[in-house]
């Protein structure tokens, strides 16, 4: 390298010209990219240029808003499938330590996690030297009131409304995320051998439902509970009331009777319980907010468009064009 240097310095001191003769040319490529001359869209935000944007936003948002609003309001009519929810308020299912207090591996049916739950479950990890299944505070605090709905057709004999237990959880949760411990032919109780029930529970997890397909970790009430609510006031799907094939509404008008088996105390946190019956549209449950918001933003946008139109007319001469034409 040194020799090269010297050679270049001392010997090759000749005329630098000889254009093209030198193979090494450090001239940067004169490409659009390297010279930063790429074709560019240079948005200049002035009233004139953005006017259409505002009007378009207004024109799109307002109909959407109206659509949403109408849809949301139509939910009132109890037709089609009716969803039965229980609601809790002031229940902080989103508390950090509460959210953490579970073992997904255990719930996924991992045998080792079943007998040796994660430390995150503390202090609901073991009870009387046996691992708790399912462990953790979330499972321990599972909602266990029972709700039954009756249609009071005649005073003496209210007809119970058939409530469907299955289909209330996400399909993926039920089939992928939550699994019972392995062993297809073994009775469920055997599969949970060596574990104990959560402290607050009355029954062990494998006795949550007589239907084995809805018992253990794949009990849908349990799965729904385990999907911790985002906000302290929440509802959770409890049952489905399926629409019958005839022309009658799912829940015809009449007097209904709700039987609650009270197990779940909420006084300690000033909580309240609710039961909600609702149909579901393409946009979920009833909530006017989105519709109103869309209408409002659409209107504001339209209004701004008008203001900008005025500005554009007023200032075009004195400002924009002035710069260019003075």
């Amino acid at each position: 390298m040194a020799m090269n240097y010297n050679a270049k310095d001392e010997v090759d001191g000749g005329p630098p010209c000889a254009p093209g003769g030198t193979a090494k040319n450090r001239r940067p490529d004169n490409t659009a990219f390297k010279q930063q001359r790429l074709p560019a869209w240079q948005p200049i935000l002035t009233a004139g240029t953005v006017l259409p944007t505002f009007f378009i936003i207004g024109l799109i948002f307002i109909p959407i808003g109206i659509g949403i609003f109408v849809t949301s309001n139509n939910i009132r009519e109890i037709e089609g499938n009716v969803f039965m929810y229980y609601g809790l308020s002031n229940f902080y299912q989103n508390h950090r330590r509460y959210v953490k207090s579970r073992d997904d591996s255990q719930l996924n049916g991992d045998p080792s996690a079943l007998l040796n739950p994660s430390k995150e479950c503390e202090p609901y990890r073991r009870n009387e030297d046996k691992p708790i299944a399912p462990c953790g505070a979330i499972a321990n605090s599972m909602f266990n009131d029972t709700l039954d709905l009756f249609l009071v057709g005649n005073e003496s004999d209210p007809t119970p409304i058939p409530l469907k237990k299955k289909g209330i959880a996400w399909w993926t949760d039920k089939n992928v995320k939550f699994r019972n411990p392995p062993g297809a032919d073994i009775p469920l109780e055997e599969r949970f051998k060596g574990t104990t029930k959560p402290v607050n529970w009355v029954k062990p997890v494998y006795m949550l439902d007589p239907d084995e397909d809805n018992s253990g970790f794949i009990n849908e009430d349990f799965i729904v509970w385990m999907r911790t609510a985002a906000l302290p006031t929440f509802r959770k799907l409890y049952r489905l009331i399926e629409r019958k094939n005839d022309l009658h509404p799912t829940l015809p008008a009449g007097r209904y009777y709700l039987n609650i088996t009270y197990n779940y105390p909420v006084h300690s946190f000033d909580g309240r319980k609710r039961m909600i019956l609702s149909t579901i549209s393409w946009m979920g449950g009833k909530n006017p907010f989105l519709g109103i918001a869309y209408i409002a933003i659409g209107s504001i946008s339209f209004l701004l468009g008008v203001v900008l139109l005025v500005i554009n007319h007023k200032y075009r001469n004195s400002s924009n064009t002035a710069d260019i034409t003075i």
């Binding site: 310095d9 005329p15 390297k34 902080y92 207090s101 996400w170 985002a230 302290p232």
Partner: protein, 1380 residues
């Protein structure tokens, strides 16, 4: 104490650096040195003060080991790291960053179980990623330096090897103190060495120091006294002396020591004997020396203040903002802690969701709140964007890439582009407020062109010459559309593109020399073009523009009157015209001989044309013999003491003399007795003189009749002469004289030969040279005039000085006296006129001394020379005695040609609001002249000159000037306050422009602690500051001072207005605002705390959080930062005012930061609460709720960037779309794969669910629109109601080319710009500014000027290392002569 430390450090380097030395070739391998360490440990006490250098050869082995073995060798290492220490040291340095420490703290915090918010391991990822990226970047940067070092270390030089008894090739790194080194012409000096031998018969060696101090003129160095006279080369084997000199220091202008012969005789050493590392040997065939300082102990390396962490302004501000963020964070965390405490106390009966500790008991609300504080810190840590610094670094890398590949910075001639050395500061290019420029080579070409002269009161304006220069300019500017130059001074601006070659053309009227000669000279002269060494050859030869002076016809006419007879009637009164002719003769003789110019032939540049060549000439004809005889007889008669004059050079060095350090290039003083005998012989000499005069006369007649001087055959052709001068203006004068057929033929320490047209060859015996110094500001030669045989003193110097030294009472009678007064007045007028034109003026005067007078003076002078105490003063006094009662001959005007386009560039820079300081090693007059010429100073500027001898005086003077300035500028009385100091006033708007001139000596006082403030205050009030006679270290100190105290962006060494950077100023700001989007995002987490009992829950999966931080939201800002371009380069070049925008770094003002923060606050509110109200009361779960939040946040961040950015290319689109797609891809894949991973958050199938849910899209669209609406509206209103100058300039880009030109023109005429700027910025200073460029085409000049600074080759490395040390650049540039 420092010595052992240094040694230890060095040794460590050796061990870790992996040296690959060849031990066998060396008699003293390093291990042997190590072995001897133990016994020589007492030497440092001695070495602490001095260093002793003993030849690094066998006979002195013991001694060498004892004294010189401990000195570092010549290996240099500028890298920070080695392979071994890279990891620890880099980590150590990175943790100097507060942010990194903070993140480390967070990581550690997350390991505390009580406050743990995320999984421990995951928290480390961002930090590790950041550290790794930065470490890789640092490593690459250092590797580049390492390669450069290696290249330098492996350069080859010739070192004497005892084994082979000759000089062998050896790498620089293996050179050690005590080595004998032999260098040939044009070689770079590898280490500081004492010059022991030079092939030059006079023991002189020329070096070019441009790499060191930027001055491209040659400097002379002298062989150590006593070695000069040795005919043969010094044999290292026989060298038995030892050198004792001072310890390594960084003073380039000082070297003290002595050389002690084996017989204890001492010879003084001075800087004249020292060859400095990094300089280049010029015009000397070969030199030999002994190394005294090597490697990092060389003066050049010590002047390099070493690698320093350069923190950019932006980063500094980013740091403050990070601190603000920390404050905000603390507030948020306190809120969280308090909230959690309250929440806890509300639920005294433990509900299900309030989990007790693992051990069963419940923590108290206070303790819970306390823990929560730390948890929140971990949770909200993203508020301080860890990727911010990474992004900034990457953005800078990208910008450097574009700067380096900018074709405008490409120099075709050199085949080189800009090289950015420091990565950290590119964006600061757009915020420069102070520009420090060197003069030589930056502003000027350092090519002196003779323009005008005034002789005997007549001004010869050399119109032909001016036309010639014009033609150069036109020829050079043909390829550019540089039109008719608008102003007068522009016409001075010639283009120096012609190949550099200081060729003496054969004829007096510039006829063309033979092709052969041109060719050979070209090869040498233009070598710099292709050379790797940037400044190397340029100084050696001048361009024809400098050499071809076209004589003024009027003056030429007067030459016809010159006859040798003029000299005969010595004592009679001379008629005026004749007297004038005499003046003219004297004037040109003075031009030709009153200098230290060295004559050489271009085809044999290493040999000086001395008289020796005469003897070797084959004599061809009788006439030649005759002329030879004549010349010899002239010599003999005019130098009666030829034999005695020879004596000091051939004889044994007189101990008396040798102890004297050389003045400069002074003829070694002869002992008084000899001089006395010489004078006693003089009558005889004058008696003889009749005969030679006769022959001269004949010769002269021949010359006149022939019409041109056909050089004497025995002499080398005039055409083959090259002149080497210490300063280029000396050369210019010699060329001017040659144009009038007064050709300097040869110069030896004893005599000067001049070929004068009408008089024939004249040989002047050189009696004395009083070299130039800055105190006297003049130089003189004392010669014996060959015709009149009188002792004549020719003096040339600064006009102010010479005018004072003129004789008041002329001895020749009142008539002459009156005539002299007239002459003086006239000349002064001419001088004033010259100065106004920006010419460097010099006065030429003479004095005729009687022999007795001279003998008297000589005796005194000798006493002065030999005195030990205060010799300098005595010598000065002695010079004063000689240089008085002068007779004014005339004056000259030389133009130090400015680089192409410099005045326009400076004007543009001024307009851009940049203050320019010129720091130069030049003398004051020159510096001021240049400042005027390049429009740094305007003629009606008020000039303050700080030139004092003491600190007190300096203080007083500054005080006075300040008061005066305050009086003149009452508009800004508050400027004296400290704020004004921190926010330096824009160019004063009251119309009074002040310039400050300060010289190096005064600068030293001003830079002292106590005066710094005052000096800065003063300097801040002046729009231009010129520091002259400043040393490189001083230059660096000035830069440092201004940077640290005024807290402004500074740029050392001008590389012109920087369009590229300017385009990119705003972008980093945008990149940051993109990062601030992160804060909006973080606030989401904060808002959520209000709904989860302030428990520190995150509704986002931590992986998503990390990716948000590192990928989704950092790539787009980086791209923006790199590619952003607000206005096209063309428009910017035309409107330098726009630069002010970046200068005030508007894009990243604190206000902007807070507004952005407020905006982020709003955005986070929207981004949280729109989904909140949408999903309120529904059965949504935590992470499903978080998903639309994340998605909307991503859209907001990206679209925010779109709104803020000024131009969008397909790359932007690619990155944005890519980011979004990657986000969804990541979320989908992660959601599908992660069944049980990453507890507690579980993203399983959430995105899939959402992608099928129309509400998700509705929420995202609504949230994004609402969040961005205010900013969008703000930008729209800003665009329509009060567009910023930049925005307005953008409009121009849209127009078609012709319309744009038209519009720009109109904009300038209207000057509306200024009003607008003042309207929207607090600086109203711009108002009064006039924009003189009315011709749009003049703008092209500015444009070319920008690139020219780079193109001119003096800055092969465009010193973009702006706020790096001035000298550091220099030194590093020096240390690495090769660029690649």
């Amino acid at each position: 104490m420092t010595e052992p430390l240094r040694w230890a450090g060095y040794h460590w380097q050796r061990l870790t650096g992996g040296a690959n030395r060849d031990n066998h070739e060396r008699p003293y391998s390093y291990s042997s040195l190590l072995a001897c360490r133990g016994k020589s440990s007492q030497t440092p006490t001695l070495a602490g003060k001095h260093r002793v250098v003993v030849p690094h050869l066998q006979p002195f082995k013991d001694e060498y080991e004892k004294f010189s073995g401990t000195y570092v060798n010549n290996r240099i290492r500028t890298t920070k790291y080695t392979l071994l220490n890279f990891v620890p040291r880099n980590l150590f340095e990175q943790f100097h960053r507060v942010a990194n420490l903070y993140f480390l703290f967070l990581v550690v915090l997350n390991w505390v179980p009580l406050v743990e918010a995320f999984q421990k391991e995951i928290t480390m990822l961002p930090l590790v990623a950041v550290l790794t990226i930065i470490a890789i970047k640092d490593g690459l940067e250092d590797y580049r330096k390492y390669k450069l070092d290696k290249q330098i270390n492996n350069l080859v030089t010739k070192v004497y090897s005892r084994k082979e008894k000759k000089y062998v090739d050896r790498c620089w790194k293996d050179v050690t103190v005590g080595d004998f080194i032999r260098l040939s012409c044009n070689e770079v000096i590898p280490a500081d060495m004492v010059l022991l031998f030079s092939t030059d018969p006079d023991g002189i060696c020329h070096i070019e120091t441009s790499g060191l101090d930027g001055e491209s003129n040659l400097k002379q160095r002298q062989v150590v006294r006593g070695y000069t006279e040795q005919d043969s080369e010094v044999d290292p084997e026989k060298f038995s002396s030892r050198i004792e000199c001072e310890s390594p220091n960084n003073d380039l202008n000082r070297f003290r020591g002595f050389l002690e012969h084996s017989n204890k005789e001492r010879v003084g050493l001075s800087k004249e004997n020292l060859l400095l590392r990094g300089c280049t040997i010029r015009n000397t065939e070969a030199v030999m020396g002994i190394v005294v300082y090597a490697g990092h102990e060389t003066k050049a390396m010590l002047n390099n203040s070493g690698p320093r962490y350069k923190r950019s302004n932006l980063e500094r501000r980013a740091n403050t903002d990070v601190l603000c963020c920390v404050l905000l964070l603390v507030i948020m965390c306190l809120t969280g802690a308090l909230g959690h405490g309250i929440w806890l106390s509300r639920y005294e009966n433990i509900p299900f969701f309030n989990i007790p500790e693992p051990d069963g008991h419940v923590i108290s609300p206070v303790l819970g709140g306390f823990y929560m504080f730390w948890t929140m810190i971990i949770l909200l840590q993203v508020l301080i964007p860890i990727s911010l610094y990474v992004s900034i670094e990457i953005v800078k890398l990208g910008q450097i890439y574009f700067i380096q590949s900018d074709v405008d910075f490409y120099n075709e001639k050199m085949d080189s582009t800009v090289q950015c050395r420091a990565l950290n500061i590119t964006e600061d290019l757009g915020q420069i407020q102070y520009l420090f420029s060197d003069k030589t080579g930056t502003l000027t070409e350092n090519k002196m062109v003779f323009r005008r002269c005034s002789v005997a009161g007549f001004d010869y304006c050399h119109e032909e010459n001016a036309k010639r220069l014009e033609s150069y300019q036109e020829a050079a500017s043909e390829d550019e559309d540089s039109p008719d130059t608008p102003s007068g001074s522009l016409s001075n601006m010639a283009k120096p593109r012609a190949p550099s070659c200081r060729m003496v053309r054969s004829g007096p009227l510039g006829s063309i020399s033979s092709n052969h000669l041109t060719g050979s000279c070209f090869a040498l002269g233009s070598g710099e073009g292709a050379s790797e060494v940037p400044h190397s050859r340029q100084a050696a030869f001048s361009s024809p523009m400098e050499t071809d002076v076209v004589p003024d016809t009027r003056l030429l006419d007067k030459f016809s009157q010159i006859t040798p007879q003029l000299f005969t009637p010595l004592d009679e009164t001379i008629p005026d015209p004749l007297l004038e002719t005499l003046y003219i003769i004297d004037f040109f003789i003075a031009l030709a001989i009153c200098n230290t110019v060295v004559v050489s032939a271009p085809n044999q540049p290493r040999q000086k044309i001395g008289l020796s060549s005469l003897h070797g000439m084959p004599i061809k004809s009788l006439e030649e013999i005759k002329s030879l005889f004549q010349r010899l007889s002239v010599r003999r008669s005019s130098s009666p003491s030829l034999a005695s004059g020879k004596e000091p050079s051939s004889g044994v060095p007189n101990a008396f003399v040798s102890r004297l350090s050389l003045f400069s290039r002074m003829k070694p003083a002869s002992p008084v007795e000899e001089e006395m005998s010489q004078t006693s012989k003089s009558p005889q000499g004058s008696g003889n003189s009749a005969c030679p005069i006769e022959t001269e006369k004949q010769d002269g007649n021949v010359g006149v009749t022939n019409g041109k001087v056909e050089s004497l055959p025995g002499q080398p052709l005039a055409s083959s002469l090259c002149y080497e001068a210490e300063s280029p203006d000396e050369a210019a004068l010699v060329y001017a004289a040659r144009a009038y057929q007064c050709t300097l033929q040869s110069r030896t320490p004893e005599q000067v030969m001049v070929d004068f047209a009408a008089l024939g060859p004249l040989t002047f015996q050189l009696l004395h040279i009083l070299p130039f110094d800055s105190v006297r500001k003049r130089m003189s030669v004392v010669v014996r005039h060959p015709i009149s045989n009188q002792v004549v003193v020719y003096t040339k110097g600064a006009d102010s000085v010479i005018m004072e030294l003129l004789s008041v009472a002329s001895p020749d009678g009142p008539g002459l006296e009156k005539q002299q007064t007239m002459l003086r007045e006239k000349t002064q007028q001419h001088l004033d006129a010259y100065t106004k034109r920006g010419l460097r003026t010099l006065c030429v005067a003479k004095r005729v001394m009687s022999d007795t007078e001279y003998a008297e003076w000589l005796r005194n002078h000798f006493l002065a020379e030999t005195s030990i105490d205060n010799r300098e003063e005595l010598l000065l006094e002695s010079a004063m005695r000689l240089e008085n009662k002068l007779t004014l001959l005339g004056a000259t005007g030389i133009e130090d040609r400015l680089q192409e386009g410099v005045p326009e560039s400076i004007e543009a820079l001024h307009k851009a609001g940049i203050k320019i300081w010129m720091l130069t090693g030049d003398k004051q007059e020159t510096a001021v002249n240049i400042a005027y010429a390049c429009k740094l100073l305007e003629p009606d500027d008020k000039l303050f000159i700080l030139n004092t001898e003491s600190k007190d005086a300096c203080e007083m003077l500054m005080d006075t000037i300040l008061k005066e300035l305050q009086k003149k500028n009452p508009a800004s009385p508050e400027q004296a306050s400290s704020e004004a100091l921190h926010q330096p006033p824009a160019p004063p708007d009251s119309g009074l422009r002040a310039g400050l001139i300060i010289n190096g000596r005064t600068l030293e006082f001003a830079l002292q602690e106590s005066l710094q403030r005052q000096f800065l205050e003063l300097a801040a009030r002046c729009h231009a500051v010129v520091c002259c006679r400043a040393t490189p270290l001083q230059k660096s100190e000035v830069v440092k001072l201004v940077r640290s105290h005024l807290r402004v962006m500074t740029l050392a060494i001008g590389d012109g207005a920087n369009d590229v950077s300017m385009i990119q100023v705003a972008d980093v700001g945008i990149g940051i605002s993109g990062q601030e989007g992160m804060q909006a995002y973080v606030n989401l987490l904060f808002w959520y705390q209000f709904f989860c009992g302030f428990s520190g829950t995150s509704m986002t999966d931590y992986w998503v959080l990390i990716f948000f931080n590192l990928l989704f939201t950092s790539a787009p800002p980086v791209i923006y930062g790199v590619l952003e371009k607000d206005v096209s380069a063309e428009t910017l070049m035309r409107l330098p005012e726009l630069y002010r925008n970046g200068q005030k770094s508007e894009a990243y003002l604190p206000l902007t930061f807070w507004i952005t923060l407020l905006d982020a606050f709003y955005q986070s509110l929207v981004c949280f609460f729109v989904p909140y109200y949408t999903y309120q009361g529904s059965d949504i779960d935590i992470f499903t709720f978080g998903n639309p939040l994340n998605t909307a946040a991503l859209f907001i961040i990206l679209l925010h960037l779109v709104i803020e950015s000024k131009s969008l290319t397909w790359i932007h689109m690619l990155v944005i779309v890519g980011s979004i797609l990657f986000y969804f891809f990541f979320a989908l894949v992660f959601g599908a794969m992660c069944v049980t991973c990453n507890p507690p958050s579980n993203p399983y199938w959430i995105m899939q669910e959402h992608m099928l849910d129309p509400v998700f899209y509705l929420v995202c669209v609504l949230t994004t629109c609402v969040a961005l609406l205010p900013r969008f509206i703000y930008r729209v209103l800003q665009g329509s109601l009060f567009p910023s100058p930049i925005l307005r300039a953008k409009h121009f880009d849209r127009l078609p080319a012709e319309e744009r030109t038209e519009a720009l023109k109109k904009w300038k005429e209207a000057g509306k710009m200024d009003q607008l700027t003042s309207k929207y910025s607090d600086h109203s200073a711009v108002k009064s500014e006039r924009i003189p460029i009315s011709d749009p085409s003049a703008v092209f000049a500015v444009m070319s000027a920008t690139s020219c600074a780079v193109e001119q080759g003096n800055l092969s490395v465009c010193e973009t290392a702006l706020d790096s040390d001035y000298s550091e650049n220099k030194a590093s540039g020096m240390a690495g002569p090769s660029k690649d």
